[in-house]
């Protein structure tokens, strides 16, 4: 039901992440062919032709990002894989890091060659333990196998790689904050322009791509950009690793070919709502995307155009299934507590606004809500939009406005009756699901 596979196309076993198994699947042959037969700009041409969009959340065309790099500008270039997977609901890149680390490394080497990068980085969130250990072991295997260092695979190309571990900061998943973090500083986002492809890490031209975006590069170059484009839809080429969680029978990571019918995916592939309940709504792509009600997704297909037309987005592929009976007021409280906790404090509207919103929602949940609170939440959300350096304040606003627009009655009920319409329930199954 989920369509063709690009990434999850091998059986996961106890050793499938190893170099030996990866080689047995044809691993590193594309890299050898690229170094032997292709010029760097030909590689970029294939990535442009593939039409692949960024898989981290912003859906920016990867080829267009790469195209900004000038190959002969006589200064170092850098490549960073963004493995700071922290958007709540998202755990797909972890699948690649744990199960296909060499696919990421081969793809990064091909990308490094295309962009003439001699130092690549993987920025991985500090909490990830097994993903880090798997990736670190793969890097050492790859060095020993002659895939990193000088004269790799017998060519005259040289590339080193560093796994850079974060230390607990959501905002560092934002590309410019990620770069500030790799520079060994607190993770503050930077104003643009200049774009990071012009002045990025250590003021050098830098390409930052999501782990999954990069992991597709080997397949794109192996089969050619045009052939890759035959997968998915015209405007969303390829596949998306979707991590699905919440009130769903079979949570996990699924690879969906773009264009797959969304409701059928949830119902059939994921087993539908936990405990046979009714679907209330979904968060389609990480909590910063707007919720879509069960009625709104009946005709939606999983691709950028369809989800955007429905009023939300693919985002980071982090889907959360929410069952009927869930209290949306308490759900929003969790989101606003999170945004308040993670605001880096650099921009006033976000630093102050997240605190205001968190305090208002806490007040409502404590039974002290005022009738004007709903409008206040909406007003702060709108006022934050576009006024900050990074998109975090905007994202908190989108999430809030989405929930307020569709579940305003639950907020009105909570304020008027000083209690939840749904007993404050976040769980739908289990012995004490209705405890709150």
């Amino acid at each position: 039901m989920t369509g063709r596979k690009v990434i999850m196309n091998f059986p996961v076993t106890a050793t499938s992440h190893s170099l030996a198994d990866y080689r047995a699947r044809g691993g590193y042959q594309t890299l050898a062919k690229v170094l032997r037969e292709m010029r760097p700009e030909q590689v970029t041409k294939e990535v442009v032709a593939s039409g692949i969009l960024g898989h981290g959340g912003a859906a920016f065309p990867a080829g267009r990002k790469w195209g900004v790099i000038k190959l002969n500008d006589e200064q170092p270039h850098y490549l960073c894989a963004n493995a700071d997977e922290g958007e709540p609901g998202t755990f797909k890149d972890r699948w690649i890091l744990e199960n296909a680390p060499h696919l990421l490394l081969e793809s990064m080497l091909i990308s490094a060659y295309a962009l003439q990068v001699h130092h690549a980085f993987v920025y991985i969130r500090g909490e990830f333990d097994l993903p880090y250990r798997r990736l670190a072991a793969a890097v050492e295997e790859a060095y020993d196998g002659g895939y990193f260092g000088k004269a790799l695979v017998g060519s005259d190309f040289a590339c080193d790689i560093v796994i850079y571990r974060g230390a607990g900061s959501y905002v560092c998943g934002e590309a410019s904050a990620l770069i500030t973090s790799i520079e060994g500083k607190k993770g503050y986002p930077r104003n643009r322009p200049p774009r990071l492809t012009v002045r990025g890490l250590y003021q050098r031209p830098t390409v930052i791509n999501n782990v999954e975006t990069l992991a597709n590069v080997t397949a794109i170059v192996a089969q050619g950009g045009q052939a890759f484009r035959q997968i998915g839809t015209a405007k969303s080429p390829g596949t998306q690793l979707v991590s699905i969680s919440g009130h769903v029978q079979r949570p996990g990571v699924y690879e969906l070919e773009y264009g797959t019918p969304l409701a059928a995916f949830i119902e059939e592939d994921c087993g539908g709502v936990l405990g046979g309940g009714q679907l209330k709504c979904i968060v389609p792509g990480g909590i910063s995307t707007k919720v879509l009600t069960a009625a709104e997704i009946t005709t939606v297909t999983y691709d950028h155009a369809s989800l955007t037309a429905a009023g939300s987005g693919v985002g980071s592929g982090g889907m959360v299934v929410i069952a009927e009976g869930t209290c949306m007021v308490r759900l929003l409280q969790i989101l606003l507590r999170f945004y308040h906790h993670e605001s880096c404090g650099q921009c006033t509207p976000c630093r102050e606004g997240m605190g205001w919103m968190h305090r208002i929602i806490d007040r409502i949940v404590a039974g002290q809500g005022r009738p004007e609170d709903i409008e206040q939440l909406a007003r702060i959300s709108r006022a934050n939009d576009g006024t900050t350096i990074c998109g975090m304040g905007d994202a908190a606003g989108y999430a809030t406005l989405g929930i307020l627009a569709k579940y305003r009655d639950e907020f009105e009920y909570f304020i008027q009756h000083r209690r939840s319409k749904f007993d404050g329930r976040l769980e739908v199954e289990g012995p004490e699901a209705a405890h709150a």
Binding site: E85, F128, G184, G246, E427, A436
Partner: protein
């Protein structure tokens, strides 16, 4: 931290020559693994070793939630409280741990054995609720499983 300098020197080999400042985070992480937290003398010595401004190190320690300036318990339990975990029982798990250990999130038991923290999304929503025990992810947790795990920790 002085005994870690040979490790730091070898770590630098794969970094670009211009990237000395990048070493702040990995050095602090290693110091914390070694000592359990980052002490004043570590900051002074790392400032001297890397030649970066002292305030840069202070800001890093304040910005990132994983760095600590004080020792914590032998076993650090960090329970995720974000959306998917809360939808699958995290609030009950956190209540249980508070009750069992007799501490609130952010506190350490009087015997210095356990520190309880709540954290935001750990990127493990498909196996919610999730609790970290030191570096390891404990997935699909509930009160019974946690009790068994805690009972099995070496004394």
């Amino acid at each position: 931290m002085k005994h870690l300098v040979p490790e730091f020197d070898s770590m630098r080999r794969r970094y670009p020559a211009e990237a000395t400042s990048s070493l702040v985070l990995p050095c602090l992480r290693r110091i914390q693994e070694d000592r359990g937290y980052v002490a004043d003398e570590d900051i002074a010595e790392l400032t001297a070793y890397l030649g970066v401004p002292r305030i840069q190190i202070e800001e890093v320690l304040a910005h990132y939630t994983q760095f600590r300036r004080k020792p914590i318990g032998l076993w650090h339990l960090q329970a995720c409280r974000n959306l998917s975990c809360s939808m699958r029982g995290a609030e009950r798990v956190i209540d249980h741990l508070c009750h069992k250990l007799g501490v609130q999130p952010g506190q350490t038991t009087a015997d210095g054995r356990y520190t309880l923290s709540t954290v935001e999304c750990l990127g493990s929503c498909g196996t919610a609720p999730v609790v970290m025990l030191n570096d390891a992810y404990l997935e699909n947790m509930d009160a019974t499983k946690l009790d068994a795990l805690i009972a099995g920790l070496p004394t």
